[in-house]
C-alpha cells in the first residue's frame, strides 16, 4: 500500500480503538509532532459519521421499499387484509 493509505489505516486503528498499546503510544507521540496527521484524524472521524448516516438512510429506504411491496402488490393481499382488519373501526 502507498504511504498515505498506510497512514489512513493507522488513523483508523487509532480512532476505532484497534491499535496495540505500544502502537497507540507511538501514534499519539506522532500526533503531537505532526499537525497534518491530527487534521487527517479529525476529518476521518467526520467521514465515518457521514458513512453511518448514509448507511442508515439507505437501510431505511430498503425497508420502505419492502413495505410498499407488501402493502401494494396483489400477491401479498392476504397479508395486507390481515393487518388492515386490526385497524378497522370497531
Amino acid at each position: 500500500m502507498r504511504t498515505s493509505l498506510i497512514e489512513t489505516e493507522q488513523v483508523e486503528a487509532h480512532l476505532l480503538g484497534l491499535s496495540e498499546p505500544g502502537d497507540a503510544l507511538v501514534f499519539e507521540a506522532t500526533l503531537l509532532l505532526n499537525p497534518e496527521l491530527k487534521d487527517k484524524m479529525y476529518w476521518q472521524q467526520k467521514a465515518y459519521t457521514i458513512v453511518r448516516q448514509y448507511g442508515r438512510q439507505q437501510l431505511k429506504q430498503e425497508i420502505e421499499t419492502v413495505h410498499q411491496q407488501l402493502f401494494g402488490r396483489s400477491e401479498h393481499a392476504g397479508f395486507r387484509q390481515k393487518i388492515m382488519r386490526l385497524f378497522a373501526k370497531k
Binding site: L5, K40, W43, Q53, L70, L86, F87
Partner: protein, 170 residues
Amino acid sequence: MNNTAAEREQLFISLYKNVFPAVARHVSKMGGTFDDAKDIFQDALVVWYEKSTDRSVNNDKAYLMGITKKLWLKKYQENNRLIPMDGFDRELEEESEPSESRILNFLQTAGKKCMDLLRSFYYDELPLNDIAETFGFSGVRSATVQKYKCLEKVRETVKEKALTYEDFVD
C-alpha cells in the same frame, strides 16, 4: 446471509411477515393507527439491524417486539418524561446538521460506489471475504486497499465541502 440488497430484501420481508402482525395488534390495542405501527416497526428494524451481530429472523422476534413496545411508550409519553430510556432510541433521533445533509447528498451522487463499499464495511459490518466477493474484488487484500482509497476520497470531500458549508465544523 444478508450481504446484498436482494438478500436484505428477503430478510425484511420475512421479518415483516413474522413480526409486523404482532406489532400492529399491539399498537392497535393501545389506540394507535396503521401509520403509527408502520413508523415504530421501521424504526425498530433499524435499531435491530444496528445492534444485532447475528441478523437472523428466527431468534429475534421477541427482541424486535421489545424494541417496538419501548418505542411506542416513548412516542406517547415523551412529553411527560416518565420513562427512563436506555439510549438506543435517542440515537435514532440524531438530527444531522444542514451542511451534513448537503455533504451526504453530494457524496450520494458523486461517490455512490465508494459510499456503498464503505457502508458494507462500517455500517453493515460485513465480513471482509463477503465484501470482496460482493463487490467483485480479487481478494480481501484488494478490497481493503480500495476501502482506504475510498475513505481518503470521502475524507477529502468532507473536508473540502465542510470548509465551504461552515456550520459543519464544531
